[in-house]
Amino acid sequence: MKIVVTNNPLVSLKISDTEIDFRNTDLLGVLKCVRDRIHLGHKLLTHPLAGSIKPWETPYRTVLLTAEKSGLDEDSLSVIEYCIEMCNKTIVSKAFYYKRDEKNLSDFQLIDFDLIFGRFS
């Protein structure tokens, strides 16, 4: 069993057979929510920074975790902490240079969706 943590509305629209924790937040907010769940005993199933689209470019992020809770998974914690640290550094420094085009939001949603669910298509 899986839980999807996401801020991508396309995921909510298309996925009906999996529990979804939709967060109205930015990319970093999703990662912090994932970190909180890891502390509660969930394990990471997908890499939190999948894809070649950089975290300062796309506002969307979808991460899969186990629905079951067990003890704190150190590997998951170390991966998510690293990702948050990386995003904290790069998003702040890049945001100065990079201005997102709102017209591309649906494209960013589609790519984020496909990274996680394309394997099953």
Binding site: A50, Y97, Y98
Partner: protein, 428 residues
Amino acid sequence: MKLELGKINIKSVRLGNKTEVKEGILTINEDCIKNLVLEDERIKSVKVEIATPGDKTRITPVKDVIEPRVKVSGAGGMFPGVRTKIDLVGSGRTNVLSGVAVVTCGKIVGFQEGIIDMSGPGADFTPFSQTCNVCLVIEPFDGLTPYDYEEAARNAGLRIAEYIGDTGKDIEPDILEVYETKPLLEAIAEYPDLPKVGYVYMLQTQGLLHDTYVYGVDAKKMVPTILYPTEVMDGAIISGNCVSACDKNTTYHHQNNPIIHDLYERHGKDLNFLGVIITNETVYLADKERSSMWTAKLCKYLGLDAAIISQEGFGNPDTDLIMNCKKIEALGIKTVIVTDEYAGRDGKSQSLADADKAADAVVTGGNANEVILLPPMDKIIGILKYTDKIAGGFDGSLRPDGSIEAEIQVITGSTNELGFNKMTAVGM
């Protein structure tokens, strides 16, 4: 398995009535190319344009680059499992129109994709400023999904590369190169005193616009396996990867992988090149563990003393790269990894998203964050207005005079992680 590559040197490309090669000049019939591309009912229109080295021309947004080739003898055809029926390629004779590339352009999504400048400072950063490029600017019908558009554009490029490649079938090549890999036990016995070296070829396989195909199979749906190096040279691997222009491997890169080429150069001299292990770069952590475990297992099973590991893309694939490196090294096999860097504009930030002390031999293709000013060009092939939105571009990248200030990651192939470029770094 033995492959002869017959290279036909093409000096120039021009439009004409008939598609043919004569005395080193490739002539192409524009209408024939358009008709072939438009056989795909998903495509509304295609423009065919030629870009020659030294032209004041900018091509963007680039999707794929493909070298035209043709099977002259031996099993299979070009791009097996995609353009031709599935058969084992990598043996017999394949003729190559050397110096020509088919370049596909199209706005599949409103960001990413790359730039090729045929002259000026940007030209030094891409190998495709040195090829005569037959560019296809592909426009889909309204409402076509990005999935279908990507597939249609990918197939159009391969179809035209095949069509142009066919002109070389009966031409005597200028250069004949021969590459051979023997069955494993024979190969090991032939050079018993030389270190046994393999090549771990990581393929980008994360999802839409991040995919690679092997004999037509989406590589994220496979487990690591072994190929003869000549299969790779002969069109077994094609690119569906449209993101991260600087470090994606186009189909041209797969056809001309310099690591495979150089390992063959040294085969029998100071090393024994045994073969290629292809593996994927996935999103699921369990898939990463499985693929890296199997890759390391195959290295051991082949009896390798050393492996070269190349990566495609940046960020999440760094995890796969380091997993491969750690697990192979843990089995007592020396590794060298080939990657690129996102080390910030000043080059002072951490270069890779993952690291390990086992990765103590690293070759870099350059720092993708390095900033470049690309001057305006006289001619644009494709669409320039997306420059602000592609990776490495930023608000104000595209200036009113047509010049572009951006990171070199906007340039196709600039920090390629197969070493198909001129940049590197040396230890101080």
